[in-house]
Amino acid sequence: MSVVSLRNVSKSYPSSTKGGASVMAIDSVSLDVEAGDIYGIIGYSGAGKSTLVRLVNALERSTGGEIHINGRDIATLPERELRKIRLGIGMIFQQFNLLGSRTVAGNVAYPLEVAGFPKQDRATRVAELLSFVGLTDKAKSYPDQLSGGQKQRVGIARALATSPSILLADEATSALDPETTHEVLALLKRVNAELGITIIVITHEMDVIQTIATKVAVMDQGKVIERGPVFDVFSNPQHPASARFVSTVVKGVPSAPELEVLRERHTGRIVTLSFRDTAVDQSEVFGEFVRAGVPFQVIYGGVNEIQGRPFGHLTLALHADDELVDAALERVRQLTTVTEVR
């Protein structure tokens, strides 16, 4: 059963000018997040991804559709009921949003106070959480004495305090440097693996998706334009916007201007070969060119790995007569996808 299930969810804001059309921030989005997923939602700023995640714990109310959390539709629940639902959904933020007036331990204890967790057990639970995120020695520090990465770890400890089944991460690493980003992502992976918590990750960085997500949805202008297992979307993006995101981390198919340069620099025919998974042995493909007597040169491309599965694109310049090349390509097509570039 889906832990989070969105059915035709919409969110519109009234127009800022009188009589103007209302603004659709989320436009009829359907999405299913299964237990144990790390579900990435990626999009440019303004694509609606942050709004979407805020609908999941009803920090903002949807204006249409159904939002099921563990099977219960929360779209129409009154605020008082929602507070109970929110205890089961942790959330971390780009700006961490820690209480500056409380110590690290005080911040982590906050959800426990709200939940009415027995006072005598709070300290034990806080110690447990701080040890999980590796900040035991910072319990008495105040947030302004911590680094960004430490603040986010406090944020994670706080979000986990009431043992939620779902964790929402709203651009949780966007304010961090690359190294700290990977520390925090590794921690989120542990949260998922060791505690079995389903995580929804909002980001504009494809790197984050590549590192931790199992599934991904690409958002553009309030709509989900593509979704699927991360490997599928990365190795074979269907939508131009998805392809743009993929190209930020995967060096694969040359872009139009790059192709222009390649055409100028290299003589002969140019083709792009796409490899997915271990289904195709690259050496076999290259063997075909060799056997056909077609000298080739790799002029662009890259091989990547997502969740242990390799995929990639290689662009070759083939230096031989058209006849020989056509014959070789004929056989290579049996093995893998070939795109002729020139």
């Binding site: 008082r80 507070r83 929110r86 700006q95 949003n97 820690l98 209480l99 106070e113 709200v114």
Partner: protein
């Protein structure tokens, strides 16, 4: 100088009265300011208790009452003071009127200080299931405590200023003392003695307020 020496007992009594009026108005005006300020903050568009009609009413009230010069407000509010305290003159009436004026002055300061609390922190509290009342007492007020203390220190000076005007409607205090024994008796030394005491008083409170705010801000 002799005039001042002879008036020393009256000077101490006046100082005591000023302290009493200021303390009482700081208390009542402070509570009033917190309530009205919180009301403004909470009902503004997009806030946790977003309520346009209430916001508009509060906003207009504050904007109308705040700019009225206090000496005029004192006269205008006299019937109300009489209705509430039973008399239009004397210390009780003046405490009521100053508290009322201070509430609206303080309301803006409270509202502005609350607006400095990052909305994200309120999101974080809401995301763990906190309701509005809990958010007010465990997030908003503690997070804005430092600036709020400085705000109260600031309003303290205004309260001393207002209390000095109290002399006009039969309230006591240093203002009344300076007018009655200094200004009207042509004894500048007496006036200056009152001024000096007020300066010392304000400095002490400012120092104390800064100290508390520093502690709250941990700086």
């Amino acid at each position: 100088m002799d005039a001042l020496t002879n008036l020393l007992p009256e000077l101490w009594t006046a100082t005591g009265e000023t302290l009493y009026i200021v303390a009482a108005t700081l208390f009542f005006g402070g509570i009033g300011g917190l309530i009205v300020g919180l009301g403004l903050y909470l009902t503004r568009g997009g806030s946790i208790l977003d309520n346009k009609p209430i916001f508009v009413v509060l906003n207009v009230l504050v904007n109308v009452i705040r700019p009225i010069p206090f000496i005029i407000f004192l006269a205008a509010a006299q019937p109300l003071a009489r209705a509430v305290t039973g008399s239009g003159i004397g210390n009780d009436a003046i405490i009521f009127t100053i508290s009322l004026a201070a509430s609206f002055a303080m309301a803006r300061i409270v509202e502005q200080n609350l607006l400095t609390v990052t909305p994200g922190v309120i999101d974080a509290a809401r995301s763990v299931g906190a309701g509005p009342v809990r958010i007010i007492f465990t997030v908003l007020l503690p997070e804005a405590l430092g600036p709020l203390i400085l705000g109260f220190t600031f309003i303290f000076v205004a309260l001393v200023d207002m209390s000095a005007v109290a002399g006009f409607v039969g309230g006591g205090g240093l203002g009344n003392f300076a007018l009655q024994y200094g200004y009207r008796q042509y004894e500048p030394v007496v006036t200056w003695a009152a001024v000096l005491l007020i300066i010392v008083l304000v400095q002490l409170v400012q120092f104390f307020g800064n100290y508390l705010a520093r502690k709250a801000l941990r700086r």
